[in-house]
């Protein structure tokens, strides 16, 4: 009789934990907001880099482009743009968009002096 009682307590404890986890992870997870750009999904990052590449074509200022890419954190602008170029190629971006990003990558490589 007594062991049955402990069994119920343990089952209740496990059920409560499961409920708590379900509530905290699924039903009402912690609200995150005010995120930084490095948390953006890869396709959003690539689109942002494409925006910078589109603007670069007009103003031809690699320094300004590098500053705008710096919002992604500690990586160099060149590597950020290169990663987006890889993503664009791997995911079938339009050839003209790939060309724009390629142009930006080349300009940033020349600007930073890094290959």
């Amino acid at each position: 009789m007594k062991s049955n009682r402990w069994l119920f307590i343990v089952i209740a404890l496990i059920a409560g934990t499961a409920l708590g986890l379900a509530y905290g992870w699924v039903i009402d997870p912690v609200d995150f907001f005010d995120l930084t750009p490095d948390t953006l999904r890869a396709d959003y990052k690539a689109d942002y880099v494409l925006m910078i590449a589109e603007a670069y074509r007009a103003h031809r200022d690699p320094g300004a482009a590098a500053r705008q890419l710096a919002i992604f954190g500690s990586q160099s602008p060149n590597s950020i743009a290169s990663q987006s170029l890889d993503f664009a190629r791997a995911n079938g971006f339009d050839a003209s968009d790939i060309a724009l990003i390629q142009e930006l990558v080349t300009a940033l490589q020349a600007w930073s002096g890094l290959p």
């Binding site: 009682r5 119920f8 307590i9 343990v10 209740a12 404890l13 496990i14 059920a15 409560g16 934990t17 499961a18 409920l19 708590g20 986890l21 379900a22 509530y23 905290g24 992870w25 997870p29 912690v30 609200d31 995150f32 907001f33 005010d34 995120l35 930084t36 750009p37 948390t39 953006l40 999904r41 890869a42 396709d43 959003y44 690539a46 689109d47 942002y48 494409l50 925006m51 910078i52 589109e54 603007a55 074509r57 007009a58 103003h59 705008q68 919002i71 995911n91 079938g92 971006f93 339009d94 003209s96 968009d97 724009l100």
Partner: protein, 284 residues
């Protein structure tokens, strides 16, 4: 009557508490693959600036509109106007112009003539690369708290929807502004010689960030709308010196208001003071 199993209830509650402690504090859902809507406000500003700069270069309004949709602003035009004013106030006039130009283009609903494009359905070229419609329709929580890397299901859309900005013609710049109102103002409550300028688009919406050039014999100056948002996004003013003949024109092209000499006015009590002018420019 059966007894309430308090021990079991307490164990259930304790378990619930442990579960919440673990899921909210010890190991909350990891933030990966977030969407632009969840960005911090200053990063959203940078995102808008990038959209505006890209629009300035490509003239692709639909792509800019779709990208702006990713930020989840209730009114993207107002968000752009407010940002343009903040940028102007901080002296960043070049980027403010780009942001204001995008706001104007959206407000005017500029229609771009479709080029001879191989794309049969123009709507398909209007999608953002990052499948913006998904991002808009999906709740923030779902976008932000993706705990499994489910980025790739949306990529089929990415492949189809990449527009070609280089094939889009340059935007229509809009007709030159007309001087639709010019009245002298004698109001002793206003500063002496106050020249007020109001700039409106064709829909009578006030336009921020518009450069106004004022010239007089031996001098010229410029000022911008939108620096006093409490008086209206399209409002700007300038203090005229008495007995000087001014001419005013918008930098991007407009009629010229000429012969502006601050009028001599008299208050009801007989005191004399210098009045001003109110000019209204509007796109036809």
């Amino acid at each position: 009557m059966k007894r309430i199993p308090w021990s079991v209830l307490l164990a259930l509650l304790a378990g619930l508490g442990l579960g919440l402690l673990y899921s909210w504090v010890i190991s909350p859902v990891r933030v990966v693959d977030s969407a632009p809507i969840a960005l911090r406000p200053d990063f959203k500003d940078q995102y808008r600036s990038a959209i505006a700069a890209a629009f300035q270069s490509t003239g692709n309004l639909e792509r800019a509109r779709a990208r702006l949709g990713l930020l989840g602003d209730a009114n993207p035009i107002e968000a752009l106007n407010a940002q343009a004013q903040r940028m102007l106030a901080s002296g960043d006039t070049q980027h403010a112009d780009e942001v204001a130009a995008l706001a104007s283009a959206l407000a005017q609903g500029d229609v771009f003539v479709a080029p001879a494009s191989p794309t049969a359905n123009p709507l398909s070229t209007a999608q953002p690369i990052s499948t913006g419609n998904d991002a808009i329709s999906t709740s923030t929580a779902e976008e932000v708290f993706t705990s499994t890397p489910e980025i790739f299901p949306t990529q089929a859309v990415i492949l189809e929807a990449t527009p070609r900005p280089t094939r889009t013609p340059l935007p229509t710049q809009g007709a030159p502004f007309k001087l639709t109102g010019q009245e002298s103002i004698c109001d002793s409550n206003l500063p002496d010689g106050l020249l007020q300028v109001l700039v409106l688009n064709a829909n009578r919406r006030q336009l921020p960030g518009v450069e106004i050039r004022i010239t007089w014999d031996g001098g010229e100056d410029q000022f911008f709308t939108g620096l006093k948002p409490e008086l209206g996004n399209g409002y700007a003013d300038f203090i005229m010196t008495p007995n000087i003949n001014y001419a005013v024109q918008l930098a991007q092209g407009s009629d010229t208001a000429i012969g502006l000499i601050a009028p001599a006015c008299e208050s009801p009590s007989g005191d004399s003071f210098t009045g001003g002018f109110k000019l209204t420019f509007q796109q036809p």
